[in-house]
């Protein structure tokens, strides 16, 4: 029997492209922008700027990678981020305690994420439908809590540090991002929980028959996604030094885009946090580079969409070849 036929037969140009194409594309982007604006793009200041700007998205996207690795989807990321920011500010203003405010925001995210998980894993709703509904409802909660306006009065000055401060030369937000990404990497690649996430994403029924509580693990994934979204929302709120009921909205689609882009890198079609980080950086570099070149922001949006399609097409070709 040809035990290894399929595995060995796939080393070729196509294979290399699939494995390294996304990273290559990222490098190409950097080179193109550096050539076009050698004075601005490759400077230390600009690179720091890109990473700093990417921090909130990286936090949210890293956490949502867990949900997406089980084959589920979380549309409520942006709405949770917004609400977490609102709650944080409200509690801070009411109690005067920064720590208590941030803790409340984070717990709200964790609870809402767990609620999503409950609907999907135990209520058997499709993840898409469930989180579409919670996204809408949570958005409404934020508007209710703020009366539709931006909260900025009497926020304690110390709250600026999280989003705007630096530790030596490194922005605090970037440190938070690094910690979150590292924690998600450990959870997914080095813990029993992460192993179960990947197994469910590969074959939920085989995983269940292997004695694993599939529903509990899926719930856990959603809870962590909610927590990550809340952390991103809190950092964003600190950066803006105000809580807007829709501040987090762009996070949802960008986080999903980053995970999709990342899933095309290094491994075939499987979400993983290293790839997600690359996806976030691609989006960040793209936005930054086009801004420097003065590309119309509407055109930027079109190009971002086109690039995601291109990346997924390249990796999708591999999928078709396999079957």
């Amino acid at each position: 029997m040809d035990d290894i036929a399929i595995g060995k037969g796939r080393k070729g140009a196509g294979d290399l492209l699939r494995k390294w194409g996304t990273l290559g594309g990222f490098a190409a982007l950097c080179i193109v922008f550096s050539c076009l604006r050698p004075d601005v793009f490759p400077s230390m200041g600009n690179i720091r700027n890109i990473i700093d700007q990417a921090a909130t998205l990286a936090i949210a996207a890293a956490a949502v990678t867990m949900v997406m690795s089980t084959g589920d989807f979380d549309l409520s990321v942006g709405a949770i981020a917004s609400l977490a920011g609102v709650v944080t500010v409200k509690v801070m203003v009411a109690t005067g305690s920064i720590a208590l405010g941030m803790l409340s925001g984070a717990l709200v995210g964790l609870a809402l994420g767990a609620f999503n998980g409950l609907l999907v894993a135990y209520g058997n709703l499709s993840a898409f439908v469930a989180t579409l509904a919670t996204m809408t409802a949570i958005g409404g909660l934020s508007l209710l809590a703020t009366g539709g306006s931006t909260l900025f009065a009497s926020i304690p000055e110390g709250f600026r540090t999280l989003g705007q401060g630096t530790l030596g030369p490194v922005p605090v937000a970037v440190i938070v991002m690094a910690v979150v990404v590292a924690a998600v990497w450990v959870a997914m690649e080095r813990t029993v929980f992460g192993r179960k996430l990947y197994a469910i994403g590969g074959n939920a029924e085989a995983t269940r028959l292997s004695g694993i509580d599939v529903r509990l693990v899926r719930l856990g994934g959603f809870a962590i996604s909610g927590l990550g979204a809340a952390l991103a929302g809190i950092v964003l709120t600190s950066r803006l030094f105000s809580a807007h009921p829709q501040a987090g909205s762009p996070l949802m689609l960008n986080a999903a885009a980053a995970v999709f882009l990342g899933a095309t890198a290094f491994r075939e079609g499987e979400p993983h946090v290293g790839g997600t980080l690359l996806g976030v950086l691609i989006l960040g570099v793209l936005g930054n580079g086009m801004n420097i070149l003065g590309v119309n922001s509407y055109v930027q949006q079109v190009l971002s969409g086109a690039i995601i399609i291109l990346a997924v097409l390249v990796s999708g070709l591999g999928g078709r070849k396999r079957s």
């Binding site: 029997m1 595995g7 813990t191 197994a199 074959n203 292997s210 004695g211 694993i212």
Partner: protein, 506 residues
């Protein structure tokens, strides 16, 4: 080839030298089939003999590796469903292929031009009228507005049958059409079949029910192990000799000898009920291999699933080593040492996209971790390597994805998942399906070794050679219940198969 009687005239359809392999396993090895105009032709054979694959080739669903096909004496080819339809073939498949949300009328006319009314829109009234007429011809009335998903199994079957009959075909192929029909519905189907036959149409009739074959068929083709064994007039044979042809005489496969004798009772099953089928009772002894035989749909899989906690039993009780055992989920059963090697290896047994080592570790993660949280990757590699070695897995490395292995090696990985455990009861559902002969022997050896270690083994298989080669006792299931439990001493396939067909007393 023996007892061949060629009908007079040019066959309306003739297949020769049909070969088809799936991933290295040969499902058809030069099968042939010849149908005469105006006959009802039975196609019989054991599960896995290749009947369904043959039909799927005729329907253009499966592409053959080699085949010569003649329709009305002229060479033809079938590359798609449309080709089959053009050649005058119409099908009632075992899977009814209805659109669950569509009503009866839409399903009956699926893939055919719907009647059009004003502005080229679908003429619903005309559609319903034609569909009712088609069903009336079958002598049944089925509610027209109800989505197919909400119809009874019999009504669904009648809808699929009506769809096949609205085609003006010359050959109607029916794969187990009566499996879910009531006696009245079966009689109506038979009446339609006789009318079609009188109109000069040809019917290829696949069924496990021998009484049906003897009541409506003119000729019968018997398949075994992917080959056509014989082709004869029904009036020249009888059920017993038909069964003998289906089994064949060669018991060529060899089986490893038992390593130990059965010991004390490990599991008592008392009136265990599932959603379908009758309650089942039996006892399983330590070190014993209990074979479970039965035709497709006889309830073997559902029994094993209920025992392994994959589905919940609806009644009855079990005692495992004298203690109550009532698994609500697979986890409960696994903790008690009752493990299932499921029927669908690729869908239920393995995570194909993940490495071999991860698959073996999956049920054992608690043991292969530090503090129950962090993976102990060194222990994982060591234990997975140990398990892989003891099943003699052939793989490039344990980092290789499970999906890249051959069927036999995939099955060895599924066994390896459970080797790290203290297994009390091992439930095997079709353990050698899609496994080549060499790997099969090794899997049998693993089964023997696990029995020798004291596990009670339930071996459900549609391969009677395998059941008789390994089992201490054979439990025959029929219509969801136990038909007979037979000591495997001097037991032959004919006896077992007679029980499978409910003819055990004759």
């Amino acid at each position: 080839m023996e007892g061949r009687t060629e009908p007079s005239g040019t066959p309306v359809l003739e297949i020769e030298g049909l070969v088809k392999s799936f991933g290295g396993v040969r499902a058809l090895k030069g099968a042939s089939l010849s149908l005469a105009r105006g006959e009802v032709h039975a196609l019989v054979g054991e599960n896995g003999a290749g009947k369904s694959t043959l039909i799927k080739v005729m329907a253009g669903i499966v592409r053959p590796d080699a085949m010569t096909l003649k329709v009305d004496g002229r060479a033809a080819a079938i590359g798609s469903g449309a080709d089959a339809e053009r050649l005058g073939l119409s099908f009632i498949h075992q899977e009814l292929n209805l659109v669950p949300y569509f009503g009866v009328a839409e399903n009956v006319f699926l893939g055919k031009p719907y009647p059009r009314g004003a502005f080229g829109l679908i003429d619903r009234r005309e559609l319903d009228k034609r569909a009712s007429a088609a069903l009336a011809e079958l002598g049944v009335s089925v509610p027209m507005k109800v989505p197919a998903a909400r119809l009874s199994r019999g009504e669904q079957a009648m809808t699929a049958i009506a769809r096949a009959f609205t085609c003006d075909a010359s050959i109607y192929v029916m794969d187990e059409p009566t499996a879910s029909l009531t006696d009245v519905e079966i009689e109506r189907l038979f009446a339609v079949i006789s009318r079609l036959k009188a109109a000069g149409k040809t019917i290829l009739y696949v069924s496990h029910r021998l009484d049906e074959i003897f009541s409506i068929c003119d000729r019968v083709t018997v398949m075994r192990d992917g080959e056509t064994v014989t082709n004869m007039a029904v009036r020249d044979t009888d059920p017993a000799s038909l069964i003998r042809h289906m089994i064949g005489r060669s018991l060529g496969d060899s089986f490893p000898p038992p390593l130990s004798a059965p010991g004390a009772t490990v599991l008592s099953v008392e009136a265990l009920a599932r959603a379908r089928g009758k309650p089942v009772s039996f006892e399983l002894r330590s070190g014993e291999i209990l074979g479970v035989a039965g035709l497709a749909g006889s309830g073997r899989s559902s029994l094993l699933k209920a025992m392994g906690g994959a589905t919940r039993a609806t009644g009855g009780s079990m005692l495992l080593r004298g203690r109550p055992f009532a698994p609500r989920k697979p986890r409960d059963a696994i903790r008690a040492g009752v493990v299932l090697v499921p029927e669908e290896r690729r869908d239920q047994g393995l995570v194909l996209g993940r490495p071999i080592a991860e698959n073996i570790a999956l049920p054992n993660l608690a043991r292969l971790s530090r503090l129950g949280v962090f993976l102990d990757r060194r222990a994982e590699r060591a234990k997975a390597g140990e398990a892989a070695a003891s099943v003699r897995l052939k793989a490039a490395s344990l980092a290789q994805k499970a999906g890249q292995l051959s069927g036999g090696n995939q099955q060895k990985v599924v066994f390896a998942k459970w080797l790290l455990d203290d297994v009390q009861v091992l439930l095997l559902d079709e353990p050698s399906r899609g496994v080549d002969v060499g790997a099969r022997y090794e899997i049998y050896r693993i089964v023997r070794e696990m029995a020798a270690k004291g596990a009670g083994i339930v071996l459900a298989s549609s391969d009677l050679t395998e059941v008789l080669g390994l089992a201490d006792r054979v439990m025959v299931m029929r219509d969801g219940g136990v038909e007979a439990i037979l000591e495997n001493r001097g037991l032959d396939q004919e006896t077992v198969l007679r029980h499978c067909y409910g003819e055990g007393s004759k």
